[in-house]
Symmetry: C2
Subunit: 407 residues, 2 copies
Amino acid sequence: MTSLATTQRSLADHAVRHPLWPPLTAGCPVTSTDEVAYPLEVDYAYDRVPADLFSARDLTAPRGLERWAPLLPPLAAPGLGEGGTPLVRLSDGVYVKDESRNPTWSHKDRLNRVAVSAAVASGARGIVASSSGNHGASAAAYAARAGLPCVLFVSPYAPPAVASFLRAYGAAVLTVPLEAVRPLMRRTVTELGYQAVSSMTETAHTGHPFGPEGYKTIAYEIFAELGRMPAAVYLPTGYGELLFGVTKGFTELVKLGHAGSVPRMYACEPAAAGALAEAMRTGRHAAQVPVGPTDAYAIDCAVGSYRGVVALEASDGAALTVTDAQMAAARDELASQGLWFELSSAAGLAGLRAHGPADAEGPVVCVATSSGFKDIATASPDTAYGPMPGDWDTVLAAVEKAGGLPG
Amino acid sequence: MTSLATTQRSLADHAVRHPLWPPLTAGCPVTSTDEVAYPLEVDYAYDRVPADLFSARDLTAPRGLERWAPLLPPLAAPGLGEGGTPLVRLSDGVYVKDESRNPTWSHKDRLNRVAVSAAVASGARGIVASSSGNHGASAAAYAARAGLPCVLFVSPYAPPAVASFLRAYGAAVLTVPLEAVRPLMRRTVTELGYQAVSSMTETAHTGHPFGPEGYKTIAYEIFAELGRMPAAVYLPTGYGELLFGVTKGFTELVKLGHAGSVPRMYACEPAAAGALAEAMRTGRHAAQVPVGPTDAYAIDCAVGSYRGVVALEASDGAALTVTDAQMAAARDELASQGLWFELSSAAGLAGLRAHGPADAEGPVVCVATSSGFKDIATASPDTAYGPMPGDWDTVLAAVEKAGGLPG
């Protein structure tokens, strides 16, 4: 089944439509103002969606993103088996959507399959992105898979394992000063013919108009696996692309008649930043905030996006902020149940534990975005250890410290 | 559907049978000799396997290991969504079974779901393992998930990201000298009531008798996804548990009448070790070899197992060895197609590229075991980078070096 995508439309005014091609990667040229750049989204011929798209089908049907091809832009770039991640049930019944089970071990693969597909379909000569880690490596992987060169603008201070990750797929990796990044991205687009798969706008985040469509598949998978809508979903939130995409997926399920209402969506931002919380508090469409110290480097964004506001309004949701200590507690709780995530990835569970209702009427899902290998503490020198003596007392002391002596 | 497991039997003599419980974790007490310790395997009531187990079923059926419960020992420990990994097709048509898509990002999760289940079902007080990385972290994750304490004996010289990984799940991590490991493991078993999920024998590897059963599911998944048997399978090989398990899975498919013959199985060991190649060359049931320098630390084993010999004989396969340079070339080839694996994980593709027939009559599958985050070079200080100047010439130079300038 091929894509039913029809047009791009402005989030600021749904009446403002643009053709599907080329992807408008710098926000809506009609509705954006000096104050707020407005993202575009993709619209579809919803009346032509197959009625059985969300019902059970046999195991020989396409898996991952291909399963949802009618409700995605054309998947012109080859995939790596992204999507189809498990819902793992914690001991108290909360579900964790484990997005570390994607091809580059984060949710970003869903976005990049779609955004790199857009680049391939529109004849781009390469891919350019700026990223603190997961997004850049994922973009590089999908570019490599599609046979396109890739330029990444990254922080020179990435955690050591993440630095290796960003360079793994053969991209040109650049650690220029932050203020030079967007001008150089734009030049890479205009002079080299590359397509940007992260935001080129300064005053508010817009990003690739097709990218968040990939995140809709998280909502589809949750609905298909639970057999119903969850009551609430908690997500780590930086620029709000994940939040927007997942919310849009649930909204489409309602629009298509498969469920009665959208789950409450909770955006979980680091307390050290919180651009969406600030926008909601002040009634603006997007906000800029100072960023304080935090180890949640994947989501400590200084600018927000109108996408986040749209998602929270559509779902009667809320913007929550969580401290590093709350995220660390959530990360440790997940590890104690066999799931190792990076600090930012635990923001969803942290939001639930710090602010969540104990009495949600239905399943509660926390989206966990990326593996512990990307944590800022991973592979730092103080996590190394030296040799220990080989006697039984050493074993007993270590076992006792870990709480493993029989009672 | 519940498990159809019936007994444990010796690989050395199938007539030598033991009850299914308790798991005999130190090899067969009847058939083992001073020269070779023989592993046990699990037997099943094959005449009671449902006829439709391997045919397509709807998407609401159990996923991952649960799908194959009749042909596994009882899955008494809770899972983390292991298994169900994708087959990714390289540009030349070779398939890569991407085992980095498991809960702790390696194939070991299939083994540990089964082995920790055996520990839970037999009333163990904890889990003990020795490991260079993936196996230990996976054992710790499944122990945590099951609420059991875990003791890991690991190298003090693990790569820095792997050191963080081994400690992530709350296990007691011990870096005692190598010669002290097995005596201390045995004492942990006898004095603390823990169950060993890695080998306790010195003269040949035996390991947990239930563990390799988990690897059978790789064969089942490949068969179900391709809709036929592959012609050949290339696997990274250390102690041969993966090789044995996958081969057993294919053998069962033939036994159950779903296919005519078992694929040729190719064991790919580092040239710096190669215990299985040595056993095959000398006609022995297991060999010990000196281990030379290699970065393939996940599979540089000094002792082999009779499991490997059994698997190669059952499949008319062969033991291949690959150099670090051949593994590095295979790792780079995979990364250039969007797949980042650790060096050891690329041994399968390296074996195919170095020794494989170009004319296999049917699909060829390489099993790739674990993510690039575990590579010995990952997060090493020489992979770090500093700031760069923010001018266009810096971008152009980097793009040119990466081969990304439009021609």
